[in-house]
Symmetry: C2
Subunit: 318 residues, 2 copies
């Protein structure tokens, strides 16, 4: 893999054409309150309203459609797995999803309901679970689908998202996104060289920040106890090679700031989102985003959250 | 007012044309679990994803657009008021919204943020608040906009909803809807004479059922303590004259069934909706819907719900 990779614009266009009519065109909703806080117009791309409850269906469906395999094995903290399960059912493919032991019950049930075979690992974090999943795919001769370390996934997850946003509002100059393995951020960087990308992740699991500091992708981090499992763990090699020179800022947020961001979304826009998706909101309302010029789009990545997590995240204010 | 009124199909088409491009085209989402329970295909019309958080923006905007007044006064348990506030801002009109003392904080803040003047009545229920609002509109010479007792509101709120649903799925034979003043149900009846309408309301505030029993609209009921303020109170005169011969079933649900329905929606579809909107789901999962032939559309009417209400509604399972 080259140290600086790119995503071909044609691949993003191909992904967008493939997904048209299959997924929802989600709204780009103005946020008066965030516009006031950041001092520039702010819009929320509501992928929490996407089919399967998150943007991950984009990459999963495009990848499985291109693969043409009769069975796949993947690893996921939940949303990618739901996307794979949905796409596999639509395409008539067998899907096996390996998940960490900390898997959110709503996500687990969602994958089962979509007909996927779900294997729960004896590990709490994403990274060890992926090693466990890779060993199984090898032993069973099944194609492994990475949630983020894959050109097709990156092009469809982040690339088509960026394309939709700027088609609706070409004036957008900044993207603020939650970052886990880096697939979304890398796809957005691939689509749009001229726009700034602000990446938000957990203070306790700063995969992108440590990778930037090291000058190479740190793909494994120790598992942490977090309510935001979707953005926990190391950074992907391929996403890093695409994005390392394109990151405008990494904003790190604490667990309690994640709680506050989730509550803020409910209070201001009346959507219950998953805590991982609140990271950019948390960064904005806690003053961690450096001053920006021009309009901003924030990606709200998903809504899959179990009742127990809702209780935990909202209890701070009760 | 004639004892049997109808909604002109042209008025519904006019409302739909007026609203096109102004509001969101919300998804019609399959519900595998409700399909299993009712034994027929079930789809959820997700007006909880609508602008301002509920379907009420349809009627409010169309009405204000047709009125051409420079100021209006209305009365609302919240969602109609948010719709009026949004439309008034878009049209450059002054909006005054009278609300009961029990107003949901999320809805109250939402109306203020949209620039409306909100007047809180010294009454807990909708009906007394409306009397109070009517007296003010008279004293101040302001046009009163009823949330449901109005041809334009009925055509736009229920009529355009029914039209959207059957345009997407012409095979739908049944609508299951939450019922307060009756505007949505009447508009749906007006659109589609051939389809069955099942109306869901609170056992403790059964405005439609008592009206059917009496053979005339019972427009005033005593205020009750409920988490579902949007479907509390008497039934509208005009909606009753439209719908009285068209109601296939009235399903009455208890307060605890409303809680269960709200939780069910979160668990099965990962949307947090307001308890009033859960009434049809509550009726389905508690076995109160009589056997139906043919596909069903259930209208999920809104998502505006304060943190305190979420705590109350979800606490049963904690």
């Amino acid at each position: 893999m080259p140290s600086h990779s790119t995503i071909a614009p044609e691949l993003i266009r191909e992904a967008a054409a493939f997904l048209a009519g299959k997924i929802r065109q989600t709204p780009l909703e103005p946020s008066p309150e965030l516009s006031r806080i950041l001092g520039v117009p702010v819009y929320l791309k509501l992928e929490n309203l996407q089919l399967t409850g998150s943007f991950k269906i984009r990459g999963a469906w495009f990848k499985l459609g291109r693969l043409g395999a009769s069975a796949v094995l993947t690893c996921s903290a939940g949303n990618h797995g739901k996307g794979v399960a949905h796409a596999a059912r639509a395409l008539g493919i067998r899907a096996i999803v390996c998940v960490p032991s900390t898997i959110d019950r709503a996500k687990y049930n969602g994958m089962l309901a979509l007909g996927a075979e779900v294997r729960v690992a004896p590990f709490a974090g994403y990274d060890e679970t992926e090693d466990w999943a890779l060993a199984q795919s090898e032993a069973e001769g099944l194609t492994f689908v990475s949630p983020f370390d894959d050109y097709d996934i990156i092009a469809a997850n982040g690339g088509t998202l960026a394309q939709e946003i700027v088609e609706e509002r070409p004036e957008i100059e900044n993207f603020i996104v939650p970052v886990g393995g880096g697939g979304m951020a890398a796809g957005m960087a691939g689509h749009t060289p001229a726009r700034r990308i602000i990446c938000c992740q957990l203070e306790e699991s700063p995969g992108l920040q440590v990778s930037l500091d090291a000058g190479r992708a740190i793909t494994r981090l120790p598992a942490i106890d977090t309510i935001a499992g979707g953005i926990e763990g190391g950074f992907g090699k391929l996403p890093f090679s695409i994005i390392q020179s394109r990151v405008h800022q990494v904003a790190l947020v604490s667990e309690s700031e994640i709680h506050a961001g989730t509550q803020w979304m409910l209070d201001q826009h009346q959507y219950l989102i998953e805590p991982s998706s609140a990271a950019p909101l948390s960064a904005c309302i806690s003053g961690k985003i450096r001053p920006l010029k021009g309009p901003v789009a924030i990606v709200i990545s998903g809504r899959n959250v179990a009742l127990t997590v809702i209780k935990r995240v909202l209890s701070a204010s009760w």
